[in-house]
């Protein structure tokens, strides 16, 4: 009986909370958060979570993957990021190939950045003034990671407005755009073996590291 009551209470609580969220969500969405404000919040959240979690710092693949999916990916238009890196080949790819490109590219990037997460120590984020018009649908948000242990690290983001929310579709570290850095490497694979060739070399690279 007490079990049933507990379950009942829990269910009611869920319903109430769920209802509240459903009402609140559209309200929140109606007034879109400014893109630089989103980056500031996201940066703080990401830094705090990394600092609080030894597994993430050590680059534990499962933990990092979960962390990225729950914390970062909701604010990223990863499909566009992949499409831009693949370039002209994207339109030639079938929907299934596109899906696989997204999956493999995500694994590649996750692995790359997993190794760097241990270096998050005392950093704080500093936003640079946003030079954009309120009506802009695409902006570049500039920020800096400030640390006592070295010079600041520039981190910039290309963002687009999707509905009411802003999404990241390219990242710049120290002046180097992620998409631009992969474009020529992908183009080379596309020239040599088409979309399948690119997929093959991506998945081979990922497998090689999964074993090592």
């Amino acid at each position: 009986m007490t079990n049933f009551l507990n379950d009942f209470r829990l269910a009611t609580l869920c319903l109430v909370l769920g209802g509240a969220l459903m009402i609140a969500a559209p309200l929140r969405a109606a007034q879109a958060e400014a893109p630089d404000e989103l980056i500031r919040k996201l940066s703080v959240e990401v830094i705090d979570k990394i600092k609080a979690d030894k597994d993430i710092q050590a680059g534990n693949p499962k933990k990092v993957s979960e962390f990225v999916d729950t914390t970062i990916m909701p604010s990223v238009n990863f499909e566009r990021m992949t499409a831009l890196a693949v370039g002209r080949g994207w339109r030639e790819a079938t929907p299934e190939q596109q899906r696989r490109l997204i999956v493999e590219f995500r694994i590649l990037l996750l692995r790359t950045y997993s190794g760097a997460l241990g270096q998050v120590t005392d950093q704080t984020v500093r936003l640079k003034p946003l030079r954009a018009d309120p009506s802009d649908e695409e902006v570049i948000v500039r920020s800096e990671l400030v640390s006592r242990r070295g010079p600041p690290i520039q981190l910039d983001y290309r963002m687009q407005k999707m509905g009411a929310a802003w999404k990241i579709y390219d990242v710049n570290v120290l002046g180097v755009w992620l998409v631009e850095t992969y474009r020529n490497q992908f183009a080379q694979e596309l020239n040599n073996g088409g979309v399948d060739g690119l997929l093959k070399s991506l998945s081979e690279k990922n497998k090689q590291y999964a074993q090592g």
Binding site: R111, T112, G115, Q119, L174, V176, T181, N184
Partner: protein, 250 residues
């Protein structure tokens, strides 16, 4: 100045001629600078006309690095404690501030130039030959400038990408800047050839040690290491020249 000073200055004047040539070329090109608007990679053939040579040199550098420099850098990281490595890095960073100051002066950034000179004076004295970066603690921020960037700010375009023997990624413009700075490197003015070589070697090891972590990232991230390094280098240099204020919508 040592006995090789004369030949050093001859090289400098030769390099200066090249600089003038590069500036002239840059000057001509600035009138159609918007053609650069698609990023440096819009016309690949023009960015890397030397690709066959570059790839070969990249492999040679890589092989040399794997055989000699990298093992030494790893050993250095193991043997010398972090505090010691930081101090050694500080010393070279301090010597480097002289050129940083000169470059800021050449770019008309007199405040920064004075601050860099102040850093050098403070760190060389209070900081004991640069072992301690006391200037940073006192709020004099470390800057980074080199002659390639100065030429870039004066309007010289980077020109073709060039992989230098031993020293790696560069461009025509940056290579010229590098050559001039190398010839007038404070370490090269030491009288004893032994000291000169030992300190140059130590600086190289110090630099390489600092790159060990980045190299791991490169191995994990790159489908083609050559392209990854080239495209990162060119973007990074472009960013430094325009400091995030590229006229091409960056």
């Amino acid at each position: 100045m040592n006995s090789s000073g004369g030949s050093g200055w001859r090289s400098v004047s030769a390099a200066a001629l090249l600089v003038v040539a590069a500036l002239a070329a840059g000057g001509c090109a600035t009138t159609r600078a918007p053609s650069d608007s698609g990023g440096v990679f819009s016309a690949l053939g023009q960015v890397d006309p030397l690709e066959p040579y570059n790839r070969a040199m990249f492999s040679i550098n890589d092989a040399l690095d794997k055989a000699v420099l990298k093992p030494i850098a790893i050993a250095y990281q193991k043997v010398v404690p972090e505090t010691g490595r930081r101090m050694i890095g500080n010393v070279f960073s301090n010597i480097g501030d002289v050129w940083v100051s000169v470059n800021n002066l050449l770019q008309g950034r007199f405040g920064d130039s004075a601050s860099d000179l102040g850093r050098f004076a403070l760190n060389s004295t209070v900081g004991i030959f640069g072992l301690f970066d006391v200037a940073s603690d006192m709020g004099l921020e470390k800057h980074y400038e080199d002659l390639g960037l100065t030429l870039g700010r004066w309007g010289a375009l980077p020109g073709p990408y060039i992989v230098l023997p031993l020293f790696g990624p560069s461009t025509l413009r940056d290579g010229i800047g590098f050559a001039v700075q190398y010839q007038t490197d404070p370490l090269q003015t030491l009288d004893s050839a032994g000291q000169r070589n030992n300190l140059s070697a130590l600086r190289l090891i110090d630099t390489r040690e600092g790159l060990l972590a980045a190299e791991k990232l490169l191995d994990a991230a790159a489908l083609d290491r050559y392209l990854f390094v080239r495209d990162s280098y060119l973007q990074r240099r472009r960013y430094l020249v325009y400091e995030g204020k590229s006229p091409y919508g960056e």
